[in-house]
């Protein structure tokens, strides 16, 4: 169901700005209500999706300021462990497990869904979630929308009001950091 799928994305995005999941859910609810109440004023200047997420972002930012987040995120090891033989072989193992899904369309993986991968899957998932949580909000919003939610670059630019170049830079920074976090996770195992 579309509403449900959107809501999950909204909560995820709101979490980039507010201190807890509970607050994020609250913000998402507020956004829905605001949308429903304001729908008659919607002039179709943007897509309904962008409009809804715009409302959400505004609310989340306002809320974030109010709650003045002070929670420090777990500092992530970002130094490159490149060249580490074990990590490299782990990457390759991961690569092999998902290689059939890597081409031609990336981003279609059901990583961690198959039974034998479940343990790794849930750990990896946690690792990814933590890595995302550790990103600066500006990068977090972009990587959530692009890579997790599968929005197009143009949609993200429209929603966040940023240029295509800026969008790419933020996305790149975020991806590099998340990649490092995955690598760290693989080394620790």
């Amino acid at each position: 169901m579309v509403v449900q799928r959107y809501n999950r994305a909204m909560v995820r995005l709101a979490m980039a700005y507010v201190p807890s999941r509970a607050v994020a859910e609250e913000v998402a609810q507020e956004a829905w209500l605001a949308m429903v109440q304001g729908l008659s004023g919607f002039k179709g200047q943007s897509s309904l999706k962008t409009w809804l997420f715009g409302i959400l972002l505004n609310r989340a930012k306002t809320n974030g300021h109010r709650e003045r987040r002070s929670v420090a995120f777990s500092s992530l090891q970002t130094s490159s462990t490149f060249g580490n033989e074990r990590a490299a072989s782990d990457w390759r193992a991961l690569l092999e497990r998902t290689s059939d899904r890597l081409t031609p369309a990336w981003g279609r993986s059901t990583l961690g869904i198959s039974p034998e991968d479940r343990a790794l899957g849930s750990e990896l998932r946690l690792c990814l979630e933590e890595a995302i949580a550790g990103l600066p909000p500006a990068q977090r919003a972009v990587i959530i929308l692009r890579d997790v939610e599968g929005w197009s670059a143009a949609e993200v630019c429209e929603l966040l009001g940023i240029s295509p170049e800026n969008q790419r830079v933020r996305l790149h920074r975020a991806r590099i950091k998340v990649r490092s976090a995955v690598e760290t996770y693989l080394c620790r195992r």
């Binding site: 809501n7 859910e25 981003g107 961690g112 590099i176």
Partner: protein, 458 residues
């Protein structure tokens, strides 16, 4: 990390540009350099694959099976909003339609011509839907509504910004429905004119076959009512084959049920029964329960008329249940008429008389003159069987008046003959003559269009 070539792209540049590379945002020359570096540097190849794998894994996050519970409060708000939005739109249309109906008839065309808010396809369609809905219950109101639909859609088809062909298709439907309403109100000349105009609008339409089929099946009922049976059946067969070609079995079934009614009401009861049975198999009863009722009702009647009383009686309970469910006043009246005929067959004259009198007064009250005249013939038969000549004489003169007003020659002849005979009865009143009369009337009853039918609503 090492430089693997002297080109513009080294490992540092490659890694900095990976996302741009993946997004195909690089200039062609730069992209080529990236391609080459990727081919030459194993570390960067690993890095590149890892980034892709990361993106892949991130995408998988979204497909968690543990879908978060969506707060019911939001869902409720959402549903309430959707309902109220639909209601708002409906209220708006209702208000517009009421405004038009409140406008004196002669001022409606100029009003629609000059006032922008009346020039909408939605308003026309809404009026048309209301007309179709009311056509059985309140034919006069339905005719008024259909006329409004025609006025609105004609304006849109002529000068609206919308798709002309589409507007003409809708206009054609509106004229067809108006024709049907006029027919029900016994305005046969007006009905014929409406069907002609429907045809004309169709010629300016999209030529999609379903619009023609719609007109054909309505027109066929009109032709049949006017005694032009062969033409009616031809027209209906045309509609049936259009729907069959379209693979629209519901409407194919619906048209077959219409054909069954046309055949049956013209005395071809044996031919009507298979049409109704096939039609019943084809229609989607969920979609149109009334259609099922129509088919069942008529089937019961034709079966009983063709002497297959057992089969008819077997179907009677379902017909009664359907009538009860749909609780449409005029349906119930027609069912009462049918039941009256069945008890008449069983020689329960008292019950038959009671049924026919009630049915007749309903039709008179609702200005359904033709039906009133037809039920009068049934009532006359009851009086005749009981030799109640005074009532018979009054009824007969009433019938002649109605038939004359309607311009139905065949029925005038029958009723006039009947009237004359009734006067003779008063003078001589012998049992032999009585029997003659009953026979004559039975003959008329069996060969002519004197049966209570349900029409297929449109």
């Amino acid at each position: 990390m090492k430089n693997t070539s002297d080109s513009a792209v080294n490992c540092f540049v490659f890694r900095e540009s990976t996302t741009e590379y993946m997004e195909r945002a690089l200039a062609p020359s730069m992209a080529q350099e990236m391609d080459r570096h990727l081919g030459e540097c194993r570390d960067c190849r690993d890095f590149f694959n890892q980034v892709q794998l990361t993106v892949d894994a991130l995408g998988a996050l979204n497909r968690e099976k543990t879908a978060g519970q969506f707060p019911t409060r939001i869902l409720d708000t959402f549903r309430a909003w959707r309902d109220s939005a639909a209601k708002r739109e409906l209220n708006e249309l209702e208000g517009l339609l009421q405004d038009l109906l409140d406008t004196p008839v002669e001022e409606r065309v100029p009003a629609v011509g000059s006032i922008r808010r009346f020039q909408s396809i939605e308003l026309g369609e809404y009026a048309l839907g209301e007309a179709a809905r009311m056509s059985v219950r309140d034919p006069l109101q339905a005719r008024d509504l259909a006329k409004v639909a025609v006025v609105v859609l004609r304006k849109v088809a002529r000068s609206g910004p919308e798709d002309k062909a589409d507007a003409n298709d809708r206009l054609s439907r509106a004229w067809a429905v108006l024709g049907n309403c006029r027919k029900i109100c016994s305005d046969f000349l007006g009905a014929a004119e409406a069907f002609q105009r429907s045809e004309a609008a169709l010629a300016c339409g999209s030529k999609a076959p379903e619009h023609r089929a719609f007109l054909l099946q309505i027109k066929a009922q009109f032709l049949a009512d006017r005694g032009r049976l062969t033409e009616a059946v031809e027209v209906l067969d045309g509609a049936v084959s259009i729907y069959r070609d379209l693979g629209d079995s519901h409407n194919e079934g619906r048209t077959l049920i219409g054909k069954g009614k046309v055949l049956g009401s013209s005395g071809y009861v044996e031919e009507a029964i298979p049409c109704l049975k096939t039609g019943l198999d084809l229609i989607d009863s969920e979609k149109d329960l009334r259609l099922r009722l129509v088919a069942k009702h008529n089937l019961v009647q034709y079966l009983s008329e063709s002497g297959r009383r057992k089969e008819a009686l077997r179907m009677l309970p379902e017909a009664r249940v359907l009538h009860g469910q749909l609780s449409n006043e005029v349906d119930l009246v027609r069912f009462q008429w049918l039941e009256g005929k069945i008890v008449l067959d069983l020689e329960d004259l008292e019950a038959a008389e009671k049924a026919f009198v009630e049915v007749k007064s309903y039709f008179v009250e609702h200005e359904m003159a033709y039906d009133a005249a037809l039920v009068s013939l049934d009532l006359a038969l009851v009086y005749l069987k009981q030799a109640r000549t005074t009532e018979l004489k009054n009824l007969a003169s009433e019938m002649v008046t109605i038939f004359k007003a309607l311009g139905i020659r065949r029925e005038i002849l029958a009723a006039t003959a009947f009237f004359n005979r009734a006067q003779q009865i008063e003078q001589t009143a012998t049992m032999g003559l009585m029997q003659d009369l009953i026979d004559a009337l039975e003959k008329v009853r069996q060969s002519e269009d004197f049966r209570p039918h349900l029409s297929v609503s449109n």
